[in-house]
Symmetry: C2
Subunit: 429 residues, 2 copies
Amino acid sequence: MKEVKIGIIGFGTVGSGVAACLLKNGDVIAKRSGIKLILAKIADLDIESDRGVDVPKEILTTDAHQLIKEVDVVVELIGGTTIAKDLILEALEQGKPVVTANKALLAEKGEELFAAAEKSKADIYYEASVAGGIPIIKALREGLVGNRINKIYGIMNGTCNYILTRMERENVDFEPVLDDAQKLGYAEAEPSLDIDGYDTAHKAAILASLAYGEWFGMEPVHVEGIRDISLDDLKYADELGYRIKLLAIIKQVEGDVQIRVHPTLVPKNTLLADISGVFNGIMVNGDTVGDSLFYGRGAGRDATASAVVADLVDVGLNLKFGSDRRVPAFRIGPQFKKLTPMESIESRYYLRFQVKDKSGVIAKVADILGKNQINISCFIQREGQSKENVSLLILTHNALESSVNMAVKKIEEMAEVRNKAKIFRIEDM
Amino acid sequence: MKEVKIGIIGFGTVGSGVAACLLKNGDVIAKRSGIKLILAKIADLDIESDRGVDVPKEILTTDAHQLIKEVDVVVELIGGTTIAKDLILEALEQGKPVVTANKALLAEKGEELFAAAEKSKADIYYEASVAGGIPIIKALREGLVGNRINKIYGIMNGTCNYILTRMERENVDFEPVLDDAQKLGYAEAEPSLDIDGYDTAHKAAILASLAYGEWFGMEPVHVEGIRDISLDDLKYADELGYRIKLLAIIKQVEGDVQIRVHPTLVPKNTLLADISGVFNGIMVNGDTVGDSLFYGRGAGRDATASAVVADLVDVGLNLKFGSDRRVPAFRIGPQFKKLTPMESIESRYYLRFQVKDKSGVIAKVADILGKNQINISCFIQREGQSKENVSLLILTHNALESSVNMAVKKIEEMAEVRNKAKIFRIEDM
């Protein structure tokens, strides 16, 4: 049986998960795939601490460069965009295929990495970089290869989804839930990468590149996070038949592609609305297959390890059969016309203004919207606790982002309007 | 670019879908995969009727044997278990890989087919045989290769799910919905294959074989259909927090495997309960990845074509790289101890008896259940329209199937009990 020597760089949470999986399930993996994955080396600066995995001491090393020389496949699990990149390039230069879970690195430096892979004819596999245990990269690259992709909707950040789910279910506002999530380890001490949407945006950039054949990087991705979602917004949305999710939206409209990450009102009667807690869900609409949805754990030691191991088998089979670069790492040449800048997208909108309850306010607001070609589908003014501060809630029909921004700016300038408006987009699916 | 000559046998619904997909998306498929799939021949007894696909007349033939000789890959889409089997064996004998959507043939004759494939070193790919557009075979075989499979739950028959969804939503009983489904083309004139559970059972046999490494065939699969589900049952289940679905359950308990298809009460707060209409959903629990769920169209021209085309790309890449049998068609050697016979499974149960409302009936029923080691979790007697016929509704804790059957038989023998009992199993997930 073909033996494949695996070297893991980074013996943290995921690294120990991969080691544990190979030790526990190596026998069944070999029977299923016809190759034997051998855990040959693990490199980390710390090779003393106990990771709860029983690996032989002699395979531990602090020398990642030596590891790269000795193994057949390099698994990069140290994260970050500097040393990780150098080590991946070093492996590729030696013709060693690389498996990585590093979404930030791929999203930001994918172009450079894939150029190096192309040059060396070695593969980069990255199933674990998007939505952990969900085999979405393989599904997009292979399972749905016969489809032109119309849309991808992704709930891809467990921290955000956990926070929104708890706010909704426990009737608590954002800040206290974030505090508690940090105490429980569901959110980082520095939570910005997650809650400001960048982590989701990294994943969106990767999926968009795979779907539309060009490595986009982060530049064209519009990113908003969940800090502005208040409990009131969740309640209003609920009453109107929606849940608010941090959604990645990748879609082509008449051949043009848009990539954006922002809080989105999703109809409650859809499966995406039911994806709760730390789980991830990705809906793909292909021109042949129609709607399909993939659901599972998006992060965590074992779910991510499951994805890394699947990649290791693919890479190992490529080595066995000499079929390196069997499936191009990403698709060759753009499968779209142009990128749609954010101000040119069309969407439905949820707008909430806090206003003084004076006669004429509603007429003025409606007038400004109308003058900007924004049609209203729902308009609610609620009786407030005081006449000085009532909520004006507006759902629109499809409207142009730039028109909405202009109208909102005008409305915010009105003397009767307090604070900044809340603007969320609605996706009816 | 490597060219792969495709021959389709069976120019029906799916055959024309595959042809349409190759014609429409051949360019993007080639860019993504690095191979060119060429629609070389289509064989059918009828080569005159218009299928709404613009294929060149000269590729149509009535001679399937000649087609097999001329092409690189044979797509079997005629269905049935006789001629289809002969043609597949003929292709394999000539070393031609085969792509098929024929679940009945695989489930019933898989052993013979895979032995022939083994002998000839040609591949059989069968993504389209289970759950149409959902790439579940690839997910189980490759994406989750690092997992021992604990459980698979599948809603895999669109006709049944459509009927149950309409009964529930429109408050109508089984027969009129079936009648209407037949008129609308959602159910066959002879609906038994679907509504009596056999179609789901075929798919369950295939998934179980893939998960546990032995081609099981149909013999060990326990099958019940949906004819016995009445509107009353759906309503009672709903009140108790459940929906009733025709569920395939494949699971290993302490190393022993059970494969069964029957109406099942599924908690309403699970994603599986929300899979409605003609859609399919498959939940897989792996020891590494945890729960994951795959959702999409389970049937229909284009969804099935999407799966066939994905297989064609895999087979084509195998031909390009000489990596035939890259991933073993099914897993080598059993990954389980033994099969659990149906009478030995443990489950929770929903039992409904129609009884005369006389004193002592409840005590007698409870006594019989207790004597058979069946613990009750919920017991409801409703006031009926008449004292002669009231519903006695019982949910049990985990109990042994044989004990439940014995107890039910005893209860049915009571003078106060009318008709046969309704027995459905509950899966809490």
